[in-house]
Amino acid sequence: MRKRILVLLKQLRVISQAVFLAAVVYTFIRSLDPFSVVQNPFLRFDPLIFLTNPRSDLFLIASIAGLIALTLVLGRFFCGWVCPMGTLMELSDFIFSFPRKANPAAIHASPKSFLVRFPPALVVLGAVVVSVFTTTSLLPFFHPNVWIVRILSRSVLGLVFLGLVFLSSFFGQRLWCVYICPLGALYGVLSRVSFLRLGIERCSRCGACERCPMQAADFRTRETLAHQCILCFQFERSCPVEGFQYGPVARAGKSTLRASRRAHGSFDPSRREFLVRGAGLLGGAMIGGVVASIGVLSKPGAAKLDRLLFSPGSTVSETTLFRPPGVVDEASFLRRCIRCLHCVQSCPNGIIEATGLEAGFASLFAPHLHFDKNGCDYRCQACQLVCPNQAIPLQTLAQKQLTPIGLAFIEQKKCVVYRDKKPCSVCQEVCPTPEKALVFAKEERMMRSSGPFMLRYPSVVTERCIGCGICQAACPAEQVAITVSRKAQWDSRAGSGRRASMRRATRMLIS
């Protein structure tokens, strides 16, 4: 390929990267606005994330199919041209890494590493693909663009990861992309059969292509590893004989095949490569399965495993965590949630936080609500709107306002009305349901030094309460007298036919 075209392609690629990086930063900033309807496209139009919540959204399916089709034509372009993590890695490499120099002494000594030919990313991919069908998905810990969101939200986790990215640049380029990234591995597997390839047609064995950031170009065998080549056009122009050719596989592949035949005699390595690659995926899948089972078993025990595996649609779950509004099915929530924590960022009341290990591996980093400072606003749907995977289902406002998060109950020995006979109806006042879920069970006329007053005893109407927690946050007593709980919700559900039917109706609306 001509140098001029290579330079042009590289410039185009940098522009493309800049545009997509700007897009992810923009969507992140927009997601901080509770009224925003923008979802992170890198988490929405993603084949791996789609696996966690397959749904019949034609636009979404068409987009992902388009992405895969494009990969089947062009090769693994996503990593080099689109992926913000790829861009971040490249920026980090640009700052911290020293490009490999062609070292004539090393040229003949070092064949391509086995780990580049059969990257551990394949194992990760296998593990991820298996585990996405369980509640302990590994995807949240390995998806590059979830990490980008964590970095943008400046969470400790994200900053540690960013530090690791910078650190990795001292040891080599795009180490995440070459060895770990399951999304890259998926696109890599697809690009093994892509129509267009980058091949080496002529070679002077100078070793200039050793600078390939993905370690994909191998002049010894005169081939490029299609599953690693991200079409970066970064170094190809330094090839003194203009030997690189990007074209249909027949043209690009012929010389490669010839080259490999020459290198290995009559031995055709493709069969062995296929077997090793397959074994990698299979092994990964087994690891994924084991990890997923360990995750499920870690805390709740065999009974829960049983429930999660054999009745995944069940709404019954003994978790005591409050999930974001609209989540009724704990199991599918945990399966779908990719822990990007966009919801944490978008919640204007700041009541969503990431769960630590206290609720087991299954809930790690998944969002839950706390009502210490504030409750879930009755008309706000920020988390539903921002969730890129509909783990928090996007409901209509009316549905959201009917879907309970928990159930409030009053501890009379803490309530100033019951205990001290002081007038206080803050919980009733702030209760947002149109027919208030907090009513005055009885009223009493009382006297005090400043004059007569009405003492109104608050009481929760179970059927109306949606457990938004606003009353809990507003309670002015020294020890909060009204608290929302999941357990009360489960208990009341057992006894209340109306509530159960309301819940069923809600579920029908959602699914």
Partner: protein, 344 residues
């Protein structure tokens, strides 16, 4: 054509009508129309004599001086003006005109704080918050009276990032030129601690500095039902200028409301009773709780305004202890005040 005394008298009347009454209902509009007609005739058919000019000048400057010195003695204004009209902006303007017009309250160069009720994340049609059209009309009027700055804010009970937007008030007020900002962070720059040793409940409280340092404080509540206070009207609206923990106020709410109103006097009160919320307040949440009245109540004190607004709910001030507390504290008359009604 005789251009003697009659014509110059009409000239003054015209001046008075245009400069001071802004619409001049109380001047007698027929009189005014006549004046304009005659005067227009003057311009075409004759020149103004020196004597005539001097007379007019002296008369108008005397009138001006008198207006400055004894505003109430020359024009008997009602204590409360009530305007009814489906066009909110017109009705608001009318209600304010009835009690003297915005120029009686806002002087050129004044900084004005307009304090609507933006307590809840609720859209305008549910009437849990002051109607944005009302806020916009008032901000417009303030700027017409040459206010230098108009601030609009409320310390919402719900999240103000949501309430300001959902209520439509932020957009409406900003369009009219007001500065809208959030006051949720309790800082020393935003709130000042004041002490009231003779208060019944609030011996000490935090009050918004913008309110304390403004020239004119305009109180623009929406009339609605309220669990503990009975009704939330103009006096209760002042809960939004404090930086205290308001939850505990509820333990002695009537006294707290009266106290904060003694600490901060509302120079102008306009109660939005366009649709009053009859039950399940203060949050509401359904149109079925509303009663449409298209009414706006304007007064220069909170007590009389609240009494009139309470009457719309069929409640007497004796039902609402905080109004009586306010009357006792001398904030305004709970009875025996004059009311003028008008519909537009």
């Amino acid at each position: 054509m005789n251009i003697g005394d009659a014509s110059s008298r009409q000239g003054v009347a015209r001046l008075r009508g245009d400069l001071f009454s802004r619409g001049g209902e109380r001047q007698g509009s027929a009189d005014r129309r006549l004046g304009i007609a005659l005067c227009a005739g003057c311009h075409y058919h004759c020149a103004v004599t020196r004597r005539e000019f001097l007379r007019a000048a002296i008369a108008s400057s005397l009138y001006l001086a008198a207006r400055r010195t004894f505003p109430a003695s020359l024009v008997a204004r009602p204590d409360v003006g009530i305007a009814v009209g489906a066009d909110y902006e017109k009705a608001v303007t009318k209600a304010i005109e009835l009690v003297g017009g915005i120029t009686a309250f806002v002087k050129p160069g004044d900084t004005v704080v307009v304090k609507p009720n933006i307590g809840w994340n609720s859209p305008p049609e549910l009437k849990a918050t002051t109607d944005p059209l009302v806020v916009r009309a008032i901000v417009h009027l303030c700027f017409q009276a040459l206010a230098s700055k108009v601030y609009v804010f409320d310390r919402s009970v719900a999240n103000s990032r949501l309430t300001y937007v959902t209520s439509g008030i932020q957009k409406a007020a900003e369009e009219a030129g007001a500065k809208v900002f959030h006051v949720d962070e309790i800082t020393d720059t935003m709130y000042k601690r004041i002490s009231m040793p003779d208060a019944r409940y609030l011996k000490e409280t935090l009050v918004n500095r913008y309110v304390l340092e403004s020239d004119v404080f305009i109180n623009v509540p929406i009339a609605k039902n309220h669990g503990e206070a009975g009704l939330t009207l103009a006096m209760k609206n002042l809960m939004g200028i404090t930086g205290d923990q308001r939850g505990k106020w509820h333990w002695q709410l009537d006294d707290a409301i009266a106290d904060i109103n003694r600490a901060v006097r509302s120079k102008l009160v306009l109660i939005d009773a366009s649709s009053i919320m009859l039950r399940n307040g203060p949050t509401g949440g359904s149109m079925s709780y509303l009663k449409r009245l298209d009414t706006f109540i304007c007064a220069s004190n909170v007590v009389s305004a609240d009494v009139e607004a309470a009457r719309l709910f069929g409640r007497s001030p004796e039902d609402l202890p905080y109004i009586m507390e306010g009357a006792k504290a001398g904030l305004g008359k709970a009875s025996g005040y004059s009311v003028q009604r008008s519909s537009v």
